[in-house]
């Protein structure tokens, strides 16, 4: 950081947005999600992230609309602060410090109706926390999740569940009721509470349980005479419950990823919305009941329009995935980042827009949402250099049976603009596939070779053959071309040289070099001790070098011409990768629990760039993404970022990248343009249209002769514009503003008469008048007009000798007519 201050590590997406339930604004236009240290505002119509509310210094643990002002929102964080945001104007309006050193407070619920603040303290504090400023402890023992706390009808009571206990606290009476369930119900499954929701109009509490039951509690203001009704549909734990604003329906969701709608009062009537993609973690309804939003365990959110069970709107997913098993790849065609996403899918993720483009279904099987089931996972994927072909490996490891493995080969179809399955090879290897790569494209592009290395000690070369069948019903198919092994060692990694003439395969300690043309073993290289972890061929001017890293902290560079070790250095490289557009290589090294980055050229053992402590933890996935346009940077330490950008995934699945100072400035500039000044969602479409409208206005002006008259209207005043466009709740009182506002609306008489006068005086070219500025005050306007008329008069005199008197008279009459029409226009 210190030595290269002009290159910074920045966060580029991949943050979790499913940590807490999202909030839908009352106009259903925006969705607010807690995401790491900030709150993200998404537009519900375009699914784009409109802006981020930044200010917390730690994890945001809750977002809540302010009930008294629907344009403001509270957020709380583990940094001990609660902030009130005005999410339209991008400013922190109010920032009450709750208490210093209150970082034990993980979950803060606000009750703002009576301008009272109620904080619930968690058992982490050991004993009840002493009162803060206006703090009062309500319930001593609650769960650390907002799902387990709910306010009752009109804020009269608060209910909380923990373990097998439901606690209801009435604010009026300051009384607490507790209800306990037995440890096990009849079939021996757990009765534990998981979530709670209160009916907005009725004194009913619904609770969800571990065994999939939902209980509707009534009469809970009595110690003994309470009743409950049990509903059962879910077969796994109910993870979220939600009443619609009018209380007519109850929504529930769980592992099954089916959203169930129970009709309140007629609980036997259920509606289902099945196959939502992943475990439902939260269900939210917008305050007007028009939008429903479910957030899922795979970091996606789906929201639905008004008729829940008829209309599906769209899904919003941000960089799904709890664990990335495939490498990070860049699709050469769309320049999208590709990695495994939803179970059994590959996701294509746009780096520029931080948005999921689409999911490619690899496994093509119905996903069964059930706990403890072994699922088929996509574990490896590889693109060829042109993006024409894609190879994927999926595997499933059942407990008692052998590994199920299949290799699928896809071809890009120009017509459908997507990948279509070409060949499925079931059980391509006996053991799991450790590495896979395509040979660089051949000259004719007709055939392709894929090499897969497996734990079973073999590597196989698969070749695409265009079979010259007369029938022509079969497309190209893939077949095994060669099976190779080396002393029954297990291959760990493989790599093709840039021209495709050499294949390097690391068999534990030994690097073997093969010729793909003849499948001959050319030579072996070895640098014990330690197994080979990564292999990379140099490119361009360094193509005679082969780089390798071993698990025993060694980075080696072999010269392929002499087949000898060129240089080696001792560092614990966790990931080595080469830039496809230059000879640079990047090595991520782990040191003291932090990752350092070194960028170097294979020809010299001196780093071009190094950055200590890029991020905590080990970096195991990274990729060079080619830039659209060549970056101009003369600074030596930044030059490696000229052609491509380096992205990497941190331990917490955050996508990070390196950014130069110049680039940062550009980004800031473009961000400023995007700042919203309207309630209209800022979409690219709006930007385009808005720009057009403004430009059109400028163009239109010269066509209207009455512009000068219109310009006098007070809307043009910048102050008034500002006044009108500022949100009402941040303005001073209306009484204070009224007189000022009305005054500004008045049209001064002198002003308009003067204009009339000017118009009469004008003899020729009106176009000159149009250049007059709207804000120009009376005085300068007159001066300029006089000057203009004088000039016109001179011009007329210069032309006069050429024409006769009658002609001049005729001309004057015509001019008079015109003036009359103009003055008529001005009067009205």
């Amino acid at each position: 950081m210190v030595e290269h201050a002009n290159i910074r590590v920045v966060h580029r997406g991949g943050s979790k947005i499913n940590f807490r339930a999202p909030v839908i604004t009352s106009d259903s236009k925006f969705l607010l999600c807690a995401s790491g240290e900030c709150v993200k505002v998404y537009s519900t119509t375009t699914e784009e992230c409109v802006h981020e509310l930044r200010g917390h210094t730690d994890l945001v643990t809750g977002v809540l609309l302010k009930p008294s002002n629907h344009l403001q929102v509270y957020s709380c964080s583990t940094d001990g602060t609660v902030k009130l945001w005005d999410f339209f104007v991008l400013s922190i309006y109010l920032m009450p410090e709750v208490a210093s050193g209150m970082n034990v407070c993980v979950c803060v619920c606000f009750f703002v109706e009576l301008f009272q603040l109620v904080a619930l303290h968690l058992p982490q504090s050991g004993d009840q926390l002493a009162e803060g400023l206006e703090l009062s402890a309500v319930l001593p023992d609650v769960k650390a999740s907002p799902e387990s706390i709910a306010f009752g009808r009109g804020g009269e009571y608060i209910a909380s569940v923990k373990g097998l206990c439901l606690v209801v606290f009435f604010f009026r009476k300051q009384k607490t009721f507790s209800f306990y369930l037995k440890q096990n119900s009849g079939n021996g499954r757990k009765n534990t509470f998981t979530c709670i929701a209160c009916h907005p109009k009725d004194d009913v509490i619904s609770t969800g349980h571990e065994d999939g039951k939902i209980r509707l509690w009534r009469n809970f203001n009595h110690k003994k005479e309470y009743t409950y009704l049990t509903l059962h549909w879910h077969h796994n734990a109910v993870s979220s419950l939600c009443f619609t604003p009018e209380g007519t329906n109850l929504l529930s969701g769980g592992v099954e990823s089916v959203l169930v709608q129970w009709k309140y009062g007629q609980e036997s009537q259920r509606d289902f919305l099945p196959r939502l993609g992943a475990t439902i973690t939260h269900v939210t309804v917008s305050p007007d009941g028009a939008l429903f939003c479910t957030s899922h365990a795979d970091n996606s959110k789906i929201y639905f329009g008004f008729g829940l069970f008829s209309l599906t709107q769209s899904a919003l997913t941000v960089f799904a995935g709890e664990s990335v098993t495939t490498d990070l790849m860049v699709d050469p065609r769309s320049k999208a980042l590709v990695l495994n996403g939803k179970p059994g899918h590959l996701q294509f993720y746009s780096l520029q827009r931080d948005k999921l483009l689409f999911n490619l279904d690899i496994v093509q099987q119905e996903y069964i949402h059930e706990l403890g089931l072994q699922q088929v996972e996509v574990v490896k994927a590889a693109f060829d250099s042109s993006g024409e072909r894609l190879a994927t490996v999926e595997e499933r490891k059942p407990k008692a049976a052998e590994l199920e493995l299949s290799l699928k080969l896809w071809t890009f179809d120009q017509q459908t603009q997507s990948f279509v399955l070409d060949t499925t090879i079931s059980a391509p290897h006996e053991g799991g596939i450790t590495a896979m790569c395509f040979a660089p494209a051949a000259v004719d592009h007709r055939t392709a070779t894929l090499v897969s290395a497996s734990k079973d000690g073999h590597f196989k070369a698969w070749q695409q053959t265009v079979s010259p069948t007369q029938t022509g019903d079969e497309g190209p198919s893939w077949e095994c071309d060669f099976v190779g092994s080396y002393h029954s060692l297990a291959p760990q990694c493989c790599c093709f040289s840039a021209d495709g003439s050499l294949l390097a395969i690391g068999f534990q300690e030994v690097v073997t070099l093969w010729s793909p043309a003849t499948w001959e073993l050319l030579t072996t290289l070895s640098q014990p001790p330690g197994d080979i972890r990564n292999l990379c061929f140099g490119r361009l001017s360094c193509s005679k070098y082969l780089m390798g890293t071993t698990v025993k902290n060694l980075l080696c560079c072999w010269n392929l011409l002499t087949c000898s070790l060129e240089w080696s250095t001792s560092m614990d490289v966790s990931l080595l990768l080469s830039d496809p557009l230059s000879e640079n290589m990047a090595a991520f090294c782990t040191l003291d629990g932090c990752t350092d980055l070194f960028v170097f050229k294979p020809c010299e053992p001196r780093p071009l760039f190094c950055q200590k402590a890029v991020c905590p933890g080990t970096v195991t996935r990274a990729v060079f993404s080619p830039r659209d346009s060549l970056q101009e940077s003369c600074d030596e330490s930044c030059q490696w970022l000229n052609r491509s950008q380096l992205y990497f995934l941190s331990q917490h699945m955050d996508l990070m990248t390196f950014i130069t100072q110049a680039e940062e400035k550009q980004l800031m500039a473009s961000n400023k343009q995007l700042v919203v000044d309207d309630t209209v969602a800022m979409t690219p479409f709006h930007l385009l249209l808005g720009a057009r409208r403004q430009g059109g206005g400028d163009l239109d002006q010269p066509d209207h002769p009455d512009t000068s008259a219109r310009a006098q209207l007070p809307q043009g005043s910048a102050a008034i514009k500002e006044l009108l466009q500022t949100p009402a709740h941040v303005l001073p009182a209306a009484t204070f503003l009224c007189s000022m506002f009305v005054q500004s609306l008045l049209i001064s008489v002198a002003d308009s008469s003067k204009t009339k006068h000017i118009e009469e005086e004008m003899e020729s070219e009106k176009e000159e008048e149009d250049s007059f500025d709207e804000e120009e005050d009376e005085k300068t306007g007159v001066v300029r007009a006089k000057w203009a008329s004088m000039e016109a008069g001179e011009a007329a005199e210069a032309a006069a000798p050429a024409m006769t008197r009658t002609q001049a008279r005729e001309l004057r009459r015509v001019k008079k007519m015109e003036r009359g029409w103009l003055s008529g226009l001005l009067d009205c």
Partner: protein, 528 residues
């Protein structure tokens, strides 16, 4: 909300021969007509003029069959011993045949008594043929000689005594009246010119020559002998062109298809193979009941006639194109084309408002059950007899999917005797199929787990289980044998492959480098 993804039924590559245009062409024959002759059929010759009768030489007779009759049109019986090589003249009027008793006889096709008898050979005459000028006969005999005879006055014109063994095949040129070729058991093929008194070209086949064949252009010669079929280029002075070894017993007969694009060879190994004459690849194969001695093809490939050692003459006629159209005409009448395109060919105008109809997803019955999570019903549907027999991949894909869903045990359990029998039958039928084994082994284990306690209650189920047991034991033995063979083959390969030394970097030498130091050491070896 994603739609239900139906069970993926894997498409297995079709094993066995691929269906090509060739196979379609050569399979387009009716069921063969089988005629029993008195002895093995040694020669079949097709009349060059319509109606293209067959002269079939078998034992002491020559039968002439019409193209569609199963009874002989004519029979020549005036042979004292076994007749050989009955051949038509190019105008189809005369027929010549050799005989075991060394006499060559010439017949009128319409008559019965021999017109001429040519005596002079001392042993059996196996080869007779007309020259292309139609006035002479060429014969080859077991007395190692071949002779040219004049038909009108039945005199011998020339004798060639160049072969050193039996002459068993020969052919005359269709373009030149003086050229003829003979093949002999002395492995040689000789080209004779009647104008000179010795052979003009000799080719060594390497095996006793059984059959020779001239291309219509007469630039290429094909010879068959032993297991080999060889092609010679006559214009290059008898240079061998190709040697084909596709039969595993002696090739006895050769013939060309009428277009000259395909060549057929018949062999004692009971196969007739069809070659493409441009690349000499086998494009089709016919199987017959016993060893084949003779083969003939009628013009336009209308008929294939094959004579075998057990005296059976098998005649296959090509299917008429009219018949196949008649068959298709018998299908039930489908609704007119108009009905299908009704309203679908409307092209929307620019200002039309399109109301899209939701596409209804079609699901198979078992998928519908799977969608409702009823595993047993899904398995039942997929095990319906016609699916089970016609498309075993469907039940197997379903079993795999149920296993993935963790409900296979539930689906297999709770069945009655009949259903268990059905499941076991299916297992027995497909368990050893290598494509299905991994899936079915899981199912079989579960079946045994579930129904292990009820063994002995039903004799049918017990019998099935015993069968399954036997099957598995046999399969294990078989696999063991295969592994043994594999081991043997490995040793054989290891002995025969040239051992290539792989240059290996000296492990110890490169180990002593200091950290981070550039090693400018001398090259330790040169890359090969």
């Amino acid at each position: 909300m994603a739609s239900f993804k139906p069970t993926k039924i894997p498409v297995y590559p079709k094993l066995g021969e691929k269906v090509t245009q060739e196979t379609l062409y050569w399979k387009n024959y009716k069921a063969p007509v089988q005629i029993k002759e008195f002895g093995s059929v040694t020669n079949i010759d097709v009349s060059p003029v319509a109606p293209h009768n067959f002269a079939v030489t078998a034992f002491t007779r020559i039968h002439i069959y019409g193209p569609f009759s199963q009874e002989p049109v004519k029979t020549f019986t005036r042979f004292k011993d076994t007749a050989y090589c009955g051949r038509f003249r190019s105008d189809g009027q005369l027929l010549v045949a050799g005989c075991e008793d060394s006499v060559v006889q010439l017949f009128d096709v319409s008559g019965k008594v021999a017109l001429r008898k040519f005596k002079g050979h001392t042993k059996a005459v196996h080869v007779t043929d007309f020259t292309s000028d139609r006035y002479q006969i060429v014969t080859g005999s077991d007395d190692y000689t071949c002779r040219v005879w004049d038909i009108p006055n039945a005199t011998e014109l020339t004798t060639y005594q160049e072969h050193t063994d039996y002459i068993r095949c020969g052919v005359t040129s269709k373009l030149n009246r003086d050229l003829f070729i003979t093949g002999s058991y002395d492995h040689s093929i000789k080209l004779f010119d009647a104008r000179v008194d010795k052979s003009v070209m000799t080719m060594d086949h390497g095996q006793p020559v059984e059959s020779v064949l001239l291309y219509p252009s007469e630039g290429l010669l094909v010879s068959a002998g032993g297991r080999y079929v060889k092609v010679w280029d006559l214009l290059k002075g008898g240079q061998p062109l190709v040697s084909l070894r596709n039969h595993h017993k002696t090739v006895t007969c050769l013939c060309l298809s009428s277009s000259g694009q395909r060549m057929l060879s018949a062999s004692l190994d009971r196969h007739v193979k069809v070659y493409n004459t441009t690349n000499y690849k086998v494009v089709h194969n016919f199987d017959y009941a016993t060893s084949i001695l003779s083969l003939a093809l009628a013009p336009d490939d209308e008929t294939i006639a094959v004579g075998m050692t057990n005296g059976i003459l098998s005649i296959k006629h090509r299917k008429n194109p009219e018949e196949s159209t008649e068959l298709s005409g018998q299908h039930r009448r489908r609704p007119a084309y108009r009905v299908f395109v009704k309203g679908k060919n409307y092209i929307p105008q620019q200002d039309d408002y399109l109301v899209s109809k939701p596409v209804k997803q079609h699901l198979a019955q078992y998928d519908k059950h799977l969608k409702k999570f009823s595993a047993s019903k899904a398995l039942d549907t997929a095990m319906q007899s016609w699916i089970r027999q016609k498309k075993p991949e469907i039940p197997i894909a379903l079993i795999k999917d149920l296993d993935r869903r963790g409900t296979l045990k539930n689906a297999l359990a709770g069945r009655n005797e009949q259903e268990v029998t059905r499941l076991l039958n299916f297992l027995i039928g497909h368990l050893v199929d290598p494509r299905f084994t991994p899936v079915l082994v899981i199912a079989a284990e579960m079946m045994l787990d579930i129904y292990g306690s009820v063994i002995g209650q039903s004799s049918i189920v017990d019998r099935q289980l015993l069968r399954l047991h036997d099957l598995l034991e046999r399969e294990i033995d078989y696999q063991q044998d295969l592994v043994e063979v594999l081991g043997m083959l490995d040793t054989v390969f290891a002995c025969h492959l040239p051992r290539k030394e792989v240059p290996c970097l000296g492990v110890n030498r490169s180990n002593g480098l200091a950290k981070g130091e550039t090693s400018a050491s001398q090259p330790q070896f040169q890359a090969t």
